[in-house]
Amino acid sequence: MKIPSYLTSLLEESGSQAEFFLRFTRNIFKNGFEWNEFVRQCYLIGYKSIGIVVLTGFILGFVLTLQSLPTLKEFGAQNYVPSMVSISVMREIGPVIIGLICAGKVASSIGAELGSMNVTEQIDAMEVSGANPIQFLVVTRILACTLMVPILTLLADTVALAGGFFGINLSADMNAQLYFAKSFQTVVFGDFFPAFIKTFFFGFAIGFIGCYKGYHSDKGTESVGIAANTAVVTASIWIILIDAVMVQITNTFVYN
């Protein structure tokens, strides 16, 4: 029986990703750690994404409030808007939206950067010189993503609550103290913590896929675009899959 070509290429890709993951883990602390490059990547991935994350977070909270307020008002439940917004943002919408935003911004930029380094033989030059390109380029980027995406999500969650406060005050009058008190009234540790943990997996997936696609791009200028594009698509799919799995795990172990 002939194995279909799509299946063999899927298996090849999976094997190659597993091998890349092993190379990543083997090189994390091999002969020291590239602290300077790690801090530089944290700056590029984290600090440089603050603008888009703050804007997205604010609009998220604002729109969610404006959309839910009329419906809840009909039932006389407008007092529940702050807690509804905070729970939705913390548990699901904040992490997933910021994960997808980072997949678009960070995974594409890592994919394009490493892809272009591949095309211009910079990665080969590192390898041939006896240096360790995995440790310098891959480990630093993946770990910086894993650390920065959760921080960006926390920031977005906070700004989303501010957006919600702004939204509710467009049609009603609620002071900040009351709004934030109501926001956190119903939020429990189980709402925040599992969602926060999954953002580390989102960050890892974004960094890993970006690095993998860039590092394994072909040697042509067109491949840089392909690497960036496939990095975004694959990282976005991974975020949705991780989210689905994490929700199941959370439902089993936290809410049962």
């Binding site: 033989e121 010189s129 360790n132 310098f136």
Partner: protein, 242 residues
Amino acid sequence: MEKVIDIQGLQKSFGNTPVLKNINLTVARGENVVVLGKSGQGKSVMIKCIVGMILPDAGSLCVLGHDIHGITRDELKELRTHIGFLFQGGALYDSMTVRENLEFPLTRVLRLKDKAEIKKLCEEVLEAVGLEDAIDKMPSELSGGMRKRMALARTLIVKPEIILYDEPTTGLDTITSKEISHLILDMQKKYQTTSIIITHDIPCAKITADRILIMNDGEYIAEGSFEELSNSDDPFIKSFFK
């Protein structure tokens, strides 16, 4: 004569296309060997085999006494610290300044820690290639010739025993090509390196070669000094020197 590179019966195919059919080459310490040949004849594949970037299918390949076939990953990494590879496009790290490009192999390969020593080595090698003023520039601010000089400086800074040049003068004007060729020769004398230079550039071959090999269809078809080959009666060999 100490053999630094010894290649016997080297073969390499990509898919069903044989690229290297039967390569035999011995390079002595301190020798400059130029490999001439049309594009797509496997010249670059051969030097990539020497540095372990591509594994040959058959034949023996000994570099500095190490058989590339039986070498472990760590041994290969150690061997590579004795080999410099000058890429066609320079392969400068474009997110780093000239200084950082030079510091990279010193801190990651030689694992030097002393900042004063690192600074001294960087300045020394930049002076040798005539780029003292470019130390804080980004690679994007350098001209084609400067990039080649810079790439050569980064290769030389770890003081390799062997340097493999992949078309070092491609894309440069005639005057800059000659400057780079003379620089290669000067650096070979100063740092006592052994070199294999892949080129299409006949003036570069004339300036740098102790011995020239002509490659065609995955094999060496002629070998000799520049004078011997340029006066050859074979029309194919002659065509390179016209």
